[in-house]
């Protein structure tokens, strides 16, 4: 079919018209030769020719695409028809748009986070090396472990070890000292992750050995911000912790790391070392063709070899080495949340489809007469069906476009409230677009619903019982009984589904509020925190750290507005260490140690800064330093668990026995018991904790610590903590010899971030619940409104027989509320069954929380009441005379 033929047809038709005229003229001339009048000649010419119009029509039709013409005509009619019933059209569009938009937005975000592969090249062959224990996989690695793994050339193409850079590093040697995030990596790191090198090179093998010199690779961010994007920086030196470091390369912009990184420094590990300290995490790339099973089998053999070399205790009993796909490891077990999300999405979709179906059925019912008339005049079944189909399609597509807009806005909104805790959201934030698959899926489902429920009445209407329909008294005398039942059933199911969604949302809202009410055991208001990097050579022994802490604490406390200040190597709700310990003089039985607890090294001002209550004994003072006897303060949970019948203050404990030479120290006297703190997470019970003075840490431990954690400063202020930020920073600068602080956050912010994921879940489910509620309300309104309209005649008769306006209103409302109540009951049943899946998200709230299960039905009933009120009012405004006369 030549397209040009189609576009040319108007011109060709004009041409043909002229041609025909020319033909007729010639034939008239020929006829005139017989000597007759010109009119007679004309008439005969006409006869011989035939009907010019028919000829033109034939040629026209031959040149056109009939289906296209008819479709265009149907489209115009559909648009007019939809415009004539604006209420229906707007509501249907809204329902479709909300259903499609909400689902698309949420799914796009979740898909970008959970389902999209990592941005590294060939991400499915990247694996995380772990220690497999009976409590799950544990990602840390020590040097001997990494050394052994590096030897497994048969399964790994590359393998790299790196730390997390939490310790920070100080950029010195200029008048803007800055604290930077640096991670130490082994040489293959860049090749492993396919990091794009935009200037210079990465580390050589020689540079990654214990005496490899001071070299560094810059990140794109640091390069741009601090060095203005000058490519000449390669080959120059920068000063870190007072030492010159040669810049050998710069990494490009699109390289994403787990934690933000300013520069990379070679690990320079001595692979023959026997240091058992777990400081690193290792990632490898499997050789092509090696499966996870093969890799895991090989690593089990390696674990046996490890035990033979380092002893049976070097690995936990029943534990070994293993690999886990990196993406799965980073994202964590998202299976349950994903299922819950899918469930919610499904519900919203079902509600939307039920709504659209309802609206379409009602509309088709109202148009029964119109369709019957068209059929009577001569429209074929195919034509009628096609026309109704185009109407549904138009609606669906328009709704889809609106849904796209809502989805787009929704994605922006969701990203804005992102707490920063959800993995990989920041990585993809600028590029989270609408996920095409889910959009197509949702659009497809809506289209299908539209077609199905638009088609059924169409098919029914085109069947030839025209006489009955045409003879019906009035289009307002009632509705088809069966269709009415279907619509009622749809509304009931909508209300039920909406109830389930809203109950889920309520449970999560209550969870979130309960979390907010939890007392973490320490003060979070008006408490400021910041980090200082002590990884430099200056701080590799305890004495200078102790002095820094003492001076810093004194100076900061002197700042007006500051109530108390302290320091620690961990921050509650953010980071923490754990250690094993033995109670001196207590038999251990079979286990290698008495127990384990959280482990903090703190300054003397720590407890007062956080207002952690002292329950017995005393806390640390300035006198607890390296020259005085070792002391330790324990938390109440620790006291209760390990001294159920005795007095901890009478005992001494040995911390870190068997953890390595760096931790060797004499036993410490328990001098005090403090209140419990929830230091891991707000929704976890308080752990047993032990605190030692920073000034009393063994030198080896300080050195290790300085590479792994920064020094946290905690400052409690009288008023808004940020108001005294500048003088506090200045005081710390003076005390530390010009070290810069970073990660300035209030403790409130830290606590908020701790429960950020729960907040995110709550917001998500609330969005779904609200959408579901809205659509259910629309559904109830739509059905009752339509029903009232159809029963105008009945209303009129009732009024004529003496019913008052109030009676009519109550009648309509009663029927509407009956539907709603049925839905609520069904929904409660479903909710009882389904909320168990939410159990893992809840805190302080049972899955069958009575408040939620009572309040939500009330909420839904009130919304339903509102939704039937308006049509009920309309019923009362029926004028009986007009209603009875209506045909």
């Amino acid at each position: 079919m030549n397209l040009r033929r189609y576009t040319d047809r108007v011109r060709k038709d004009d041409d043909l018209a002229e041609e025909i005229e020319s033909h007729l003229a010639h034939e008239q001339d020929a006829q005139s030769a017989h000597g007759i009048s010109s009119e007679e000649a004309r008439r005969r010419a006409r006869l011989r020719f035939g009907n010019p119009r028919t000829v033109r029509e034939r040629v026209w039709r031959y040149r056109s695409l009939p289906w296209l013409d008819e479709a265009a005509r149907d489209l115009r009619f559909a648009l007019r028809s939809l415009a004539r019933t604006p209420g229906f059209t707007v509501i249907t569009l809204l329902v479709l748009a909300v259903g499609i938009g909400v689902n698309t937005a949420v799914f796009s975000v979740i898909d970008a986070v959970l389902l999209k592969p990592l941005t590294y090249p060939d991400p499915q062959s990247l694996v995380q090396l772990v220690l497999t224990t009976d409590r799950g996989p544990f990602p840390g690695a020590s040097i001997p472990e990494f050394a052994l793994w590096s030897q497994q050339r048969g399964i790994f193409q590359q393998i790299a070890a790196f730390d997390f850079g939490a310790a920070g590093v100080n950029l010195t040697g200029s008048d803007h000292p800055e604290q930077l995030q640096a991670i130490h990596v082994t040489r293959d790191y860049f090749a492993l992750f396919g990091a794009p090198v935009i200037a210079g090179r990465t580390f050589t093998a020689a540079e990654d050995t214990p005496n490899g010199g001071h070299v560094v690779v810059l990140s794109y961010g640091l390069w741009k911000q601090r060095y203005g994007g000058d490519a000449g920086i390669v080959g120059r030196t920068i000063q870190l912790e007072g030492q010159p470091y040669l810049v050998v390369g710069v990494i490009g912009r699109d390289f994403v790391t787990d934690t933000p990184v300013d520069l990379w420094i070679p690990n320079q590990l001595d692979l023959n070392s026997h240091e058992m300290v777990v400081n690193y995490t290792a990632v490898g790339r499997l050789r092509p063709g090696v499966t996870l099973a093969q890799a895991n089998a090989q690593l089990r053999l390696a674990a046996d070899q490890y035990r033979r070399t380092y002893g049976q205790q070097s690995l936990p009993p029943g534990g070994g080495f293993g690999v886990v796909p990196l993406q799965e490891f980073l994202v964590g077990n998202m299976r349950t949340p994903l299922l819950v999300l899918l469930g919610a999405v499904g519900f919203v979709l079902l509600i939307a489809c039920a709504n659209v179906a309802n609206l379409l059925l009602a509309r088709a019912s109202a148009r029964r007469r119109e369709l019957a008339t068209r059929a009577a005049i001569g429209a074929g079944r195919g034509q009628i069906i096609r026309q109704l189909l185009i109407e549904s399609l138009t609606l669906a597509l328009a709704g889809g476009v609106l849904g796209l807009a809502i989805g787009f806005l929704g994605v922006r909104l969701l990203l804005r409230i992102n707490p920063g805790n959800i993995p990989r959201i920041s990585e993809t934030a600028p590029s989270v677009g609408l996920d095409l698959n889910i959009l197509l899926f949702t659009l497809g489902v809506s289209l299908l619903t539209g077609i199905l429920f638009g088609l059924i009445p169409a098919v029914a209407a085109s069947r030839p019982n025209l006489i009955a329909i045409l003879n019906e008294g009035s289009s307002r005398s009632g509705t088809s009984f069966r269709q009415g039942k279907i619509r009622a059933a749809l509304v009931v199911s909508e209300v039920a589904l909406a109830l389930i969604l809203v109950i889920g949302a309520t449970l999560l809202i209550r969870t979130f509020r309960k979390l907010g009410e939890v007392d973490p055991g320490f003060t979070t208001h008006n408490v400021l925190t910041m980090t200082m990097s002590v990884s430099g050579d200056r701080f590799q022994t305890t004495a200078p750290v102790a002095q820094l802490v003492r001076e810093g604490q004194d100076r900061v406390e002197a700042v007006p507005g500051v109530v108390a200040a302290g320091a620690s190597n961990c921050l509650p709700l953010w980071s923490g260490f754990g250690m094993v310990f033995d109670v001196v003089g207590r038999p251990k039985g079979n286990s290698p140690f008495t127990g384990g607890a959280g482990f903090y090294s703190v300054s003397s001002g720590y407890f007062s800064s956080f207002e952690i209550p002292l329950l017995r004994g005393r806390v640390f003072t300035e006198r607890d330093d390296a020259s005085s006897p070792g002391v330790v303060v324990i938390s109440q949970a620790m006291a209760r668990r390990y001294w159920p019948n005795g007095d901890p203050l009478k005992d001494r404990i040995q911390i870190g026995a068997g953890a390595g030479p760096a931790f060797a120290e004499p036993p410490r006297q328990v001098v005090g018991i403090v209140g419990d703190t929830r230091s891991r997470s707000v929704d976890q019970n308080p752990d047993p904790m032990m605190y030692i003075p920073l000034a009393q840490m063994p030198d080896g431990e300080t050195a290790l610590n300085s590479k792994v954690a920064p020094l946290y400063w905690i400052i409690r202020t009288r008023e808004n903590p940020y108001a005294v930020l500048a003088p506090v920073e200045a005081a710390l600068r003076e005390a530390s010899g010009d070290l810069a602080v970073a990660h300035i956050r209030s403790m409130d912010e830290v606590e908020a971030r701790n429960i950020a994921r729960q907040r995110f879940n709550m917001v998500l489910l609330t969005i779904f619940g609200f959408s579901g509620l809205l659509m259910a309300a629309i559904g109830v309104y739509g059905v009752m409104s339509y029903s009232v309209q159809q029963r105008t005649q009945e209303m009129g008769i009732r009024m004529a027989l003496g019913a008052q306006a109030g009676n009519l209103r109550n009648l309509v409302m009663g029927q509407g509320m009956m539907l709603a109540l049925l839905g609520v009951v069904a929904g409660l049943g479903g909710a009882f069954w389904l909320t168990r899946f939410l159990a893992s998200f809840l805190f302080g709230v049972k899955a069958w929380d009575p408040t939620a299960f009572v309040l939500t039905p009330l909420l839904l009933c009130s919304v339903a009441l509102l939704a039937v009120w308006i049509p009920a009012q309309r019923a009362t405004r029926v004028d009986p005379m007009t209603a009875l006369r209506l045909e």
Partner: protein
């Protein structure tokens, strides 16, 4: 209850009409009216077709590239659209004639010689 189109008289003769038009134009270009007259006369008025049904055929043939058209002035001093055979049209005519002759000869053989 759908109205159906009555079958067109032109449909029946479409294939043959095409051939006749092509044959008529072998001798030179002509406009629609002339072609109609020529077909009537040379067939001895045995083929009685509405003159109008010529035009869909002409347009179709032109679209297929077998004819080319141009407006000109006729012998009666009127504007008329002249059609002429293209090279492609000539080839098609030869092929179609061959097919037709083969088919009629075959039917002839089957039917046997004409009896009185």
């Amino acid at each position: 209850m759908v109205l159906k189109r009555p079958p067109d008289a032109g449909d029946v003769l479409q294939g043959t009409l095409d051939m006749l038009i092509l044959r008529t134009l072998v001798l030179g270009a002509a406009h629609g009216h002339t072609i109609a007259q020529a077909i009537e006369q040379t067939s001895g008025n045995a083929l009685d077709v509405e003159q109008g049904s010529l035009y869909p055929a002409l347009h179709r043939l032109e679209d297929r590239g077998w004819l080319a058209s141009a407006w000109g002035v006729s012998e009666n001093n009127r504007r008329a659209k002249y059609y002429r055979l293209t090279a492609k049209g000539r080839r098609e005519l030869a092929a179609a004639t061959g097919r037709w002759r083969r088919m009629t000869r075959a039917i002839d053989l089957i039917l046997g010689p004409e009896t009185e």
